[in-house]
Symmetry: C2
Amino acid sequence: MTELLRREPNVISAGLGLLADAAERQAARVTRVDWKPPMTGVEDDLVTVVGDPRRVAANAAAVERMLGVRAQLVDVLPARAALGLSAGEFLHAGPPVTWDRASGPLRGAIMGATVLEGMAGDPQAGAALAERGAIMLDPCHAHGAVGPMAGVISPSMWVFALEDPASGRRSYCSLNEGLGKVLRYGAYSADVIERLKWMSASLGPLLQAAVRAGGPIDVTAILAQMVQMGDEAHNRNRTGTLMLLRDLLPSLVQAPFPASEVSSAVAFIGGNDHFFLNLAMPACKLALDAARNIPGSSMVVAMARNGTDFGIQVSGTGDQWFTAPALTPEGLFLGSYGPADANPDIGDSAITETAGLGGFAMATAPAIVRLVGGSVSDALATTRRMYEITLAEHPLFQVPALEFRGTPAGIDMTLVVRTGILPQINTGMAGKVAGTGQVGAGLVTPPAEIFPAALRALALTVG
Amino acid sequence: MTELLRREPNVISAGLGLLADAAERQAARVTRVDWKPPMTGVEDDLVTVVGDPRRVAANAAAVERMLGVRAQLVDVLPARAALGLSAGEFLHAGPPVTWDRASGPLRGAIMGATVLEGMAGDPQAGAALAERGAIMLDPCHAHGAVGPMAGVISPSMWVFALEDPASGRRSYCSLNEGLGKVLRYGAYSADVIERLKWMSASLGPLLQAAVRAGGPIDVTAILAQMVQMGDEAHNRNRTGTLMLLRDLLPSLVQAPFPASEVSSAVAFIGGNDHFFLNLAMPACKLALDAARNIPGSSMVVAMARNGTDFGIQVSGTGDQWFTAPALTPEGLFLGSYGPADANPDIGDSAITETAGLGGFAMATAPAIVRLVGGSVSDALATTRRMYEITLAEHPLFQVPALEFRGTPAGIDMTLVVRTGILPQINTGMAGKVAGTGQVGAGLVTPPAEIFPAALRALALTVG
C-alpha cells in the first residue's frame, strides 16, 4: 500500500465521474470505464437469471433457431380461410386489449372493418357494435400473424402466408394498403373501405394466382438483399417492394385475369414503397416463433403495441405478455400535424426490430433519417448501440457501411436490464383520433419497466 | 528579421517533408500543408488557362447546362432508324479506332455484329470482312450515342432514345444483354447472337410499345433515387433496373403482345441487375453534351475507351479527342480468370464518372466493393477525393452516407493537372482475346498524360 502511494497514481474509474474529475484536476492519469449500474431493483433477479445454468445453451438455441428459418411466400388467401376467422372475429396488433381500453387508431380500424365486413352501415354503427361486445378481439401474435399499426385483420381481408420449408410452420400478415388515409392508421372513410374491397376482390386473388403459379418467393433472400440496398425493412421497404414485384411478374403477367386488372395491381404495388413491409414482418415473426418456449432463454421473441400498451414476450416465459403504457414516438410530422396529434406507439411492426431489422439496421438505411428524423450519424450510432443488447450478428443481414457486419439480432433482456439500453424502434405515427390516418413517423423505445417485469418472471422459472 | 529569430519558430511547410522533419526534430511547431506540385511541364499552360478571363464564367455555364438537363426515356427503336445507320456502318465505344488497332473485345463484338446483321456466316468470316475494310467504324460519341464496353451498335440492334424536354436534344444507347458471355464483352458464340436476335425481334418492340403507350420515363429522377438506394449507376444498377421495371409495367402488361412474350421480357430485365446501365449512360451523355463547346471551359465532357486508347473531350476544345494507351483495371476476377486475361480499359461507360456517378459516387454504394475490390472506407475516400477535381456537387445525386452531400460532378481538367489526382473509374473487365466475354470488374484511371495534352490545346485557344 505504501509502495502504491509512492508511485505515480494511475486511476481507473467506473460509474459516476466525481472521483475521476477530482483525480484529473490533480493531474493524475485517469482511464474512464463506460459503466452504468443496472436498472433499479433488478439485482436479485439478474443474479438468478444470469446464474441459471440453462441460460447460455438456451440462448444459443434460441439464436440458432431464429437464424435457421427461411421464410417463403407460399400463398395469398382470405383471413377467413388462412386463420379460421369467423364473422365478428377480428385480430389486432400488440398485446391483448379490450374495446374500452383501445386507442383511437385501433378503434378506427375496428370501426372500418365492421363496414368492410358488412356488419355495420357506417363506422359509428360499427363502434356501437364493438361497444356492446359484438366483436371478438384477439392479438394477431396469438394466431401466428402480425399486422402493422392497428393491425386489424377481419375475415374477408386477404393475407400473405409465409412458410419455413424446413419445419412447415407458417406465419401470416395482411396486404399493405399504402400510406396516409388507410385503415391500419385508423382511417375509415369511404375511399379506405373501397380500397380494401378492391384488395379483397382483385389484388388478393391475382396475387394468389401469381404465387401459386410461380412458386414460392424467398422473402428471407429479399430481406438479405434489401439490407444492402438502403432498406431497413421497417420504414424503408423500397427495394424490397421492387424485388417482390420483379419476382412476381413473370407469373403475374400470365395470370388468367384481364390485362387492365394486372396493370392496376402492378401500379398499386409499384406505387407503394411500403408494400413489402407486410412480408418483412411475417418473415421476422416466423423466425422468432421458432425461438419460442425455450426454458431458461432470456431472448425477446416479440415486441408489439396495441396503441395503449407496449408488450414483450420472452422465449423462456412462454406466451406471457409483459406490458406497460406505450410511449409516444418523436419524429417528423406530415402536413400540419404535430406532436399533439400523435397516438402512442402502435403496431406489430416492432417484430422487425426484434429480429435485427428496422431500428436495429438503421446504419444500412441512412436515408431513413429524412422520414423519422435525426442525422445519419445517429442512424449509424443506433445500430452500433444495439450490439450491446443483442446475442448475435445476423449472418444474412449484412451492413455494407459497417464493412458487411451482420445486424444486431436477438435481444437479450438481461443485457437490456443490465445496461439500461432500450431497443430502438422506428415507426409510423397514427393520429390519436379515430378516423385520422397517418400523422408522421419517428423514433420510440419500449417503456423501460417491462424488462424488469419479464426478468422477474424468468427468474421465477429458475429451479 | 532579427525580431523573427528572437521568437519561438512556427513553421508552415508545403510539399516535401524534409524541412518539416528537420524542424520537428528541433522541437519547432510545424504545420504541414498537403501540397503537391502540378503534373510535370504544365506550368505555362496552367498559367495561361487559369488566367483566361473566360474560364470562370465558361465553367459556371458548363456546370449549369450539365445540371439543367432532365433525361427522359421517350422511345425505343432500331439503330437503323434512330441513328441513320446503313448496312455495314457500326458504332463503337471510345475515341476513333481502326480494325488493325482494335482490341480483342472490340474485334469480337464487331465479328459478332456481322453475324447478327447477316453480313457473315460466322465470326471469322466477319473478321475477314472487317480486315478488308467492309465495315465502317465510327465512335458512338460522334452520333449522340454511348455503348458500354465494346459499345458496338449495328443497324439492326435496338436502342433507347432519351430526350431533354427543354431542348429537344436526344441521346441513344443499346439495350443491355446481361453479364458474362455477351457481345459487349467481345463474346460472339451462337447463344450471344441468338439473344441479340430475340432482343431485336421481341424485347425491343415490346419496350417500344410500352414506352409509347405509357409516356416518357424520367431517367434522371430514377438516377436521383437509386443513388439513395445503394446504386452508383455504373457497376451497380440494381434498384435502377427495378424502378425502370416498375415504371414500365402498367403499360407493358397491356401491350398487344402474347403474355408469354411479356413474361419473358420482364424475367429478362428483372434477372439482369445491369439493365438500367444502358439508361444511366445516355442520361449522363445527354447532360454532358449540353455542356460542350463553351469557349474557355476546362470541364471534361467525355471520358471513353475503345480497349486500345483512353480518350477525353473537353468543353472548350470541341470534338477533339486527347488520347493515350488505356490502362488495365485492377480488381476481382470471375472463375479462374486472372490479371493476364484482362483487356485494357474499354467502354463509353466512364460517361457516368464524367457526370458525377460511378466511381465518383462510390460512397453511396459501399456494397460495390464486393464486385470491384477494395474496402468500404476506400469507397468513401474515393468520393471524397473526387471533390478535389470537380466543379460542382450534383444537387440531385445526394449521398445519404455523406449527410446528403451531392456527388462530385463536372471534372475540371485544370484541377486534375494541378493536383495530380486522376478521375476514379470503376468498370467491368473484358477478356483480351476476342470471343471471351467478361473476366472481372475493377478500378482504373485514365492515363495521366491526356490531361496535360488537353490543357495545351485549351491554352492555344486563349487569345
